[in-house]
């Protein structure tokens, strides 16, 4: 659990076993408390009255936690930056949406199917895009995204650019947001769990080796090509599932909701600001960016400025803290235990 930490940030572990156990325990207490808190939040409605706004904000946060944590598997551990993850969100959204429109299955039941469809697209896309390394990979993921946008915009069966209207969810208005919140909570917990499991597997170690030096990794016996494709496909699953639930909560699917570079940009931004290649980094980054977005929206009421602020933040982090918040704090040895999930 500790040995491979040196691969991500180069900090040797110099804590005594007792101290480690201590940190480990306080971390678990913090995480379980957080999860319990998240589980009971919607019930607060019966005490303080309707608060759909807060619930919606939390749902959005959980969605980005899920997507950024998933992106981190290929973009962080393997350090193959994908700007095309919007594709997976859209595939999940459309697959589950179509299952609802044509067969009446609730997207909550078919979210996993949406995720699997995204995995299939990821595996196929990865077969082609992962023939390249570095910049050419990034370019081909942009092309993949724009290709899907063009395709879905002109696919009449799916409503083209006009979009696809879904039947309204059968929930009572006062509890309308709660099911989406719980759905996203499951997806987000699943994504963080997957990220943790990957980080602590031989597979994850292989991905980190690829990130360090792909040629040496290959010489050392890491099956780099299949690992990369597996990582790309795996990173699609919870993005697709989140897309399925998000699409249902919008009750209207349009290609420009999913297949735009802004979606991928958010994942990159959140992961890098929080700390790529760490388990908690994407979560911390997501919370930070969502908070900043809320503040700028309420202060300036403009989403264009959000883009500017996001870009300036990204520039600052890249130039001065390339390891991100979690990575930098860990390197300096003062990462709080409750944020150390590796």
């Amino acid at each position: 659990m500790i040995e491979d930490r040196s691969l991500t940030s180069g900090t040797p572990s110099d804590q005594s076993p007792e101290a480690l156990q201590q940190t480990s325990r306080s971390r678990w207490v913090a995480l379980v408390a957080l999860l319990l808190l998240l589980l009971v939040v919607p019930l607060a409605r019966s005490i303080i009255g309707p608060f759909n706004y807060v619930l919606q904000l939390l749902t959005v946060t959980l969605m980005w936690v899920a997507m950024t944590s998933s992106w981190n598997i290929i973009g962080g551990y393997a350090s193959y930056i994908s700007l095309g993850h919007g594709v997976f969100m859209g595939v999940g959204g459309y697959v589950s949406g179509l299952m609802l429109v044509h067969y009446g299955y609730s997207p909550f039941a078919t979210a996993a199917l949406g995720g699997l469809a995204a995995v299939a697209v990821g595996a196929l896309g990865g077969l082609i895009t992962l023939r390249t390394r570095g910049p050419a990979f990034i370019i081909s993921t942009i092309a993949l995204l724009l290709m899907f946008l063009l395709w879905f915009d002109n696919w009449d069966l799916l409503g083209g650019s006009n979009g696809l209207a879904l039947p309204l969810p059968p929930f009572s208005p006062e509890w309308l947001r709660a099911p989406f919140y719980y759905g996203m909570l499951v997806v987000a917990v699943g994504a963080v769990w997957l990220s943790y499991r990957v980080a602590h597997s031989k597979f994850g170690l292989g991905l980190r080796a690829i990130a360090q030096d792909e040629t040496k990794a290959e010489v050392a016996g890491v099956p780099t090509r299949s690992y990369k494709i597996a990582a790309f496909a795996l990173s699609a699953f919870f993005v697709g599932a989140a897309g399925a639930i998000w699409g249902y909560s919008l009750s209207y699917l349009r290609p420009t909701v999913f297949f735009i570079i802004g979606v991928s940009a958010q994942m990159v931004l959140m992961a890098i600001i929080g700390g790529r290649g760490t388990v908690s980094g994407p979560v911390v980054g997501t919370v930070l960016i969502i908070a900043i977005n809320e503040i700028t929206l309420t202060q300036f009421g403009s989403s264009e400025l959000n883009l500017v602020i996001a870009g300036v933040l990204l520039l600052g982090v890249l130039l001065f803290f390339p390891l991100g918040l979690v990575g930098t704090l860990r390197e300096r040895g003062n990462l709080p235990a409750f944020l150390d999930w590796d």
Partner: protein, 291 residues
């Protein structure tokens, strides 16, 4: 037959402009290994400058192209000095250039959207909608002028790289950075000049596209993807490759548009990109580079 020749004429004219748009991008990659995702946002920004110069002051876009070049050269040098010089020794240099230029792209896009909103604009000098007629074929004046300017600038660039002392330095740096340094090329200065030229070319092409295509802030993603597709086709960092890639893909997409409708033009570029990645990842004129 008449129709095919007509489509070919339009494709070639378009290819000339794409070649100019891509030349700066491939120069930045060739000399400094910078994958500049902000290249097309500079083009869009310059298109806005040409648009407002035309609307408010009546400045012809072709004149704007000339005026924008020195201005954008300085912008390019400034960007190079403030951003890329800092990361010169970075272990993950190429990846850093992608992320930094990505950040620059969203900052500029956000600013453009904030000030000028997302509505479509086009500059409309009289020649933009006029044409010469040669027998059965027509040659749109606007596209002809734009291609003419592109060819002139590309020839100028070629001459500069071929016959000037700084041009030698740029080519030497493209071939082998450390060897160039050993034989006495000031690699830093050469890099900042090359990035300035790259940005100046983006500025000129921005003025040209301001009357060729409708533009809006987020349009740059589509353009940068098209441009990257064609420089991957040509072989990243190869100027000859960029020009050939631009012409091949522009002509091919013109025929696709003629047969299948305007929507499928960009698709030609993306499919060509995937095809080339499958068959020959280093591109037509590229060498196998390890990055």
């Amino acid at each position: 037959m008449t129709n095919a020749v007509q489509v070919l004429i339009l494709g070639l004219l378009l290819g000339g402009v794409y070649a100019l748009m891509a030349a700066g991008l491939t120069l930045a990659f060739g000399v400094m290994r910078i994958v500049n995702l902000a290249h097309a946002v500079v083009i869009v920004g310059s298109a806005y400058a040409a648009y407002f110069a035309f609307q408010n002051l009546g400045v012809d876009p072709l004149v704007s192209a000339a005026l924008l070049m020195p201005v954008m050269y300085l912008v390019g040098v400034a960007i190079y000095t403030t951003l890329f010089r800092r990361i010169e020794g970075s272990a993950r240099y190429v990846e850093m250039t992608v992320l930094l230029t990505f950040a620059v792209a969203i900052v500029v896009e956000g600013l453009l959207a904030f000030f000028f909103t997302g509505i479509f604009r086009t500059t409309d000098p009289t020649y933009a909608t006029d044409a010469f007629f040669v027998g059965d074929w027509f040659i749109p004046k606007g596209q002809l002028y734009a291609s003419g300017v592109s060819v002139a600038l590309l020839l100028g660039l070629w001459g500069f790289l071929r016959y000037t002392r700084i041009g030698y330095g740029v080519r030497a740096t493209m071939q082998n950075r450390s060897a160039a340094q050993i034989v006495g090329v000031n690699v830093r200065r050469t890099s900042s000049i090359a990035f300035g030229i790259s940005t100046a070319l983006a500025g000129a092409s921005g003025a040209l596209v301001s009357y060729l295509f409708p533009f809006f802030p987020a349009r740059h993603w589509q353009w940068v993807a098209l441009l990257l597709a064609l420089i991957v086709l040509g072989g990243m960092g190869s100027l000859k490759g960029a020009v050939v890639g631009a012409i091949v893909l522009a002509v091919a997409s013109s025929f696709v548009v003629d047969q299948a409708g305007p929507i499928w033009g960009p698709m030609t570029f993306y499919l060509a990109l995937f095809l080339i990645l499958l068959v020959r990842p280093q591109g037509l004129f590229g060498k196998e580079v390890t990055i």
